[in-house]
């Protein structure tokens, strides 16, 4: 994939300019180039070099800082540590963001070809038919301008292409897909399954974009549990290794790395004409021209780009006649409950790693009853004896106090006995939750930055409370001890952004007064402008975003090809 960064951009006019190379950008590039279009892709980070950027199979002692970073900088701060794929952090050097009063949104961003798909946990869940029509079926949230049946064929196509393991269950809240065989459960999974069964809660095979059989030229998973460190064999899905290569193979994709898009250029007729960007290597302003502009810079980055693309024609930012660009920012409602299972320490030591994702999970199961909140959640199951890490034994030290052989032995006894249920729940769109351009802060490229105002409503707090209660019940039914102390007044919500599932801000809708895009990710105001990252989401179901980004992008790209053929863009 070696391609030198050109200092001066190509002079020609491309068919499409894509901004970003993650799930959205990579999928758009593949479908559009295979459909015969000439595509240029701007990516704010470098090309992927797995030898340099991935840390798979490192031992902590291979790193002088043992994973905690220089001066323990990756240890106490919110930054991810040395084992994460490089260039995927909250504190991007020289690219700050801010929060309004009372908002504590954390924004994990990638600056690397393939975006955050180099580092994700691969949990791959379809929206349910109900998820996309909550307004008409249950009276809350919004209806999407597309229905489940519109995207179901694209779910099939995406799953067949990227390889997803799972099992067919027929549960209404968790539609089945095209699945590879799931991996065998770990010991910790069996415990949770036992507890769930006692309470008649479904606990089914996990669903993840990791190939358990050789698939489309990719070797099967080798079970090191390190997807977030980058998978050198590409057995876990990443855009950089699974979508970009076939796009390059068409000969119709040109990637410009280290290119930070600043503004979408607009022609006099009000159509998008290309993108201006900062070449980070030379710190110069450049531009590329294109007949179609496709944003896949990630949810809030795409909103930022539109808000920064002001002109006399579009004084409030591009495609923003509705005033909703930046609005309806959502994030998964997330809380974690840990159960202690001493028996995990008494079983014979064995390799417990498995894939880097869930082997079992608990889909939303209370859809058939009245709850004191709207929407659903699911639980991802992790835990057991994993790779020893810094910080793993602080709690033991705190509880045991003292020092010496007894302390050391206590650590061994406790090691690997924790099992976590990670809750991921639906956030209902609300206009008070948004991002906007910060009037005071430029990044080091001279581009105005974002200010976040993420607000949970009462519904999200009630949901988190319910999550904690039901997770404690499940873990206790499994024989685990849970810590009853609730860490925060909001029931242990991670501070928003902690799970990197931010969606909304450039939402699709059938009413152009209250939305930015059509169901095909096409801007209502500018027909040759598309946004297909999670910015386009109308609501924020409990399902992790990536599969849904991929399917919506594929569908939008086919539509765009069709329109281009008809000369309608």
């Amino acid at each position: 994939m070696a391609q030198p960064a050109p200092n001066t951009p190509p002079r020609k006019t491309f068919d499409v300019c894509i901004v970003g190379s993650g799930a959205a950008g990579g999928m758009a590039a593949k479908v559009l180039t295979e459909g015969g279009l000439d595509v240029v892709m701007l990516e704010a980070g470098p090309l992927l070099n797995p030898g340099l950027h991935y840390t798979e199979h490192l031992w902590p002692y291979n790193l002088p800082h043992r994973g905690v970073g220089i001066g323990a900088g990756g240890y106490n701060s919110t930054a991810s540590h040395e084992f994460d794929v490089a260039n995927i952090v909250q504190d991007v050097p020289g690219e700050p963001y801010s929060n309004g009063p009372g908002s504590a949104f954390r924004w994990t961003r990638a600056r690397l070809l393939g975006g955050r798909t180099n580092h994700w946990n691969c949990v791959t869940l379809r929206f349910s038919p109900h998820d996309m029509r909550t307004r008409s079926l249950s009276g809350y949230g919004e209806d999407w301008p597309v229905e489940y049946n519109d995207i179901a064929p694209y779910y099939d196509k995406v799953e067949s292409l990227i390889g997803v393991y799972g099992s067919r269950e027929g549960i209404p809240s968790a539609p089945d897909g095209v699945f590879l065989p799931p991996p065998a459960p770990r010991c910790s999974d069996l415990l949770v399954r036992k507890g769930a069964a006692k309470l008649k809660v479904p606990c089914i095979a996990g669903r993840a974009a990791i190939v358990t059989r050789a698939h489309n030229g990719r070797p099967p998973c080798h079970y090191c549990a390190q997807c977030t460190q980058g998978c050198r064999t590409a057995s876990s899905f990443s855009s950089s290794q699974v979508l970009i290569p076939p796009a390059l193979k068409t000969g119709r994709l040109q990637i410009i790395p280290m290119a930070m898009a600043r503004q979408v250029l607009v022609a006099r007729d009000g159509k998008a004409a290309g993108v201006s960007y900062i070449d980070k290597t030379t710190r110069t302003e450049q531009r590329v021209l294109a007949k179609v502009v496709w944003l896949g810079a990630s949810a809030c980055e795409s909103a930022r780009l539109l808000l920064n693309s002001r002109s006399t024609l579009f004084p409030n930012g591009l495609a923003n006649s509705s005033g909703t660009v930046g609005r309806y920012l959502m994030e998964s409602v997330a809380t974690t409950v840990t159960g202690a299972f001493p028996e995990l320490n008494r079983i014979p030591p064995h390799n417990h790693d498995g894939t880097g994702s869930v082997h079992v999970y608990i889909p939303w199961w209370k859809y058939d009853r009245r709850n004191d909140f709207q929407g659903g959640y699911h639980a991802e199951v992790f835990g057991g004896p994993g790779m020893p890490r810094a910080r793993m034994f602080h709690q033991v030290g705190l509880e045991a106090q003292g020092y010496g052989a007894a302390l050391k032995e206590k650590c061994r006894e406790t090691y690997g006995t924790g099992v976590q249920l990670l809750g991921r729940g639906e956030m209902i769109p609300n206009p008070a939750s948004y991002c906007e351009i910060d009037s005071n802060l430029l990044d080091q490229w001279g581009i105005p930055t974002l200010r976040f105002h993420l607000k949970w409503s009462d519904n999200e707090i009630k949901m988190a409370k319910d999550m904690r209660q039901s997770f404690e019940e499940i873990l206790q039914a499994a024989g685990g001890k849970t810590n009853a102390a609730v860490p925060h007044p909001d029931f242990g919500h991670l501070s928003p952004g902690g799970v990197a599932h931010e969606v909304g801000t450039v939402r699709m809708g059938s009413d152009r007064q209250t939305s930015v895009l059509s169901g095909f990710c096409q801007a209502h105001d500018v027909k040759n402008l598309f946004v297909s990252d999670a910015g386009c989401f109308t609501t924020g179901p409990d399902k992790n975003p990536t599969l849904n980004i991929l399917a919506l992008t594929w569908r939008a790209a086919e539509y765009a090809l069709d329109q281009a053929r008809k000369g309608d863009l």
Binding site: I70, D91, H350, A405
Partner: protein, 156 residues
């Protein structure tokens, strides 16, 4: 103090073993303490790990250097010699004062030193259990490449 997290690109990946640069007496005291906290810590390179971090982080340096000096001063008051000059029994006697939260609750003059010891205990546990020796001690069997994942052995 806030440190910018560098990306891996800028890290001396797989660099050679860090060297201790502080004064020899301080090094020996740190070594002795680490070894008290987790037997085997010296062999596992824990003092070097702690020195590396405190050389880069002023806050860590303050806590470690300050704590070590407090220890020497207390030993001189009590036994008339610095920590290293004390017998093992005397050393343990002093550590038993500062290694337990409840002692500081009874005697507030111990509270800063107790905080220092807790900090050093955390760092020592981090260093030891991320070392080759510590990982072997835990009997961790993963981080390898398997062609099939066998799942849980038939015991649960």
């Amino acid at each position: 103090m806030k440190l910018e997290r560098r990306t891996l690109l800028q890290l001396p990946l797989l660099a050679k073993k860090p060297k201790i640069t502080s004064a020899p007496a301080k090094q020996d005291t740190l070594r002795t303490l680490c070894e008290f906290i987790v037997p085997g810590a010296t062999e596992a390179g824990v003092p070097e790990f702690i020195e590396l971090l405190s050389g880069e982080n002023a806050e860590y340096k303050r806590q470690i250097s300050g704590g070590l000096l407090w220890l020497d001063a207390r030993c001189r008051d009590r036994y008339g010699k610095p920590f290293l000059g004390c017998s093992q029994t005397e050393q343990k006697e002093l550590l038993d004062l500062i290694a337990f939260r409840e002692n500081a609750q009874k005697d507030p003059t111990l509270s800063q030193a107790t905080a220092f010891f807790a900090f050093l205990r955390d760092l020592t546990l981090d260093g030891y259990f991320t070392s080759r020796q510590g990982i072997a001690y835990l009997d961790f069997r993963g981080n390898s490449a398997l062609s099939e994942f066998p799942g849980c052995p038939p015991i649960l």
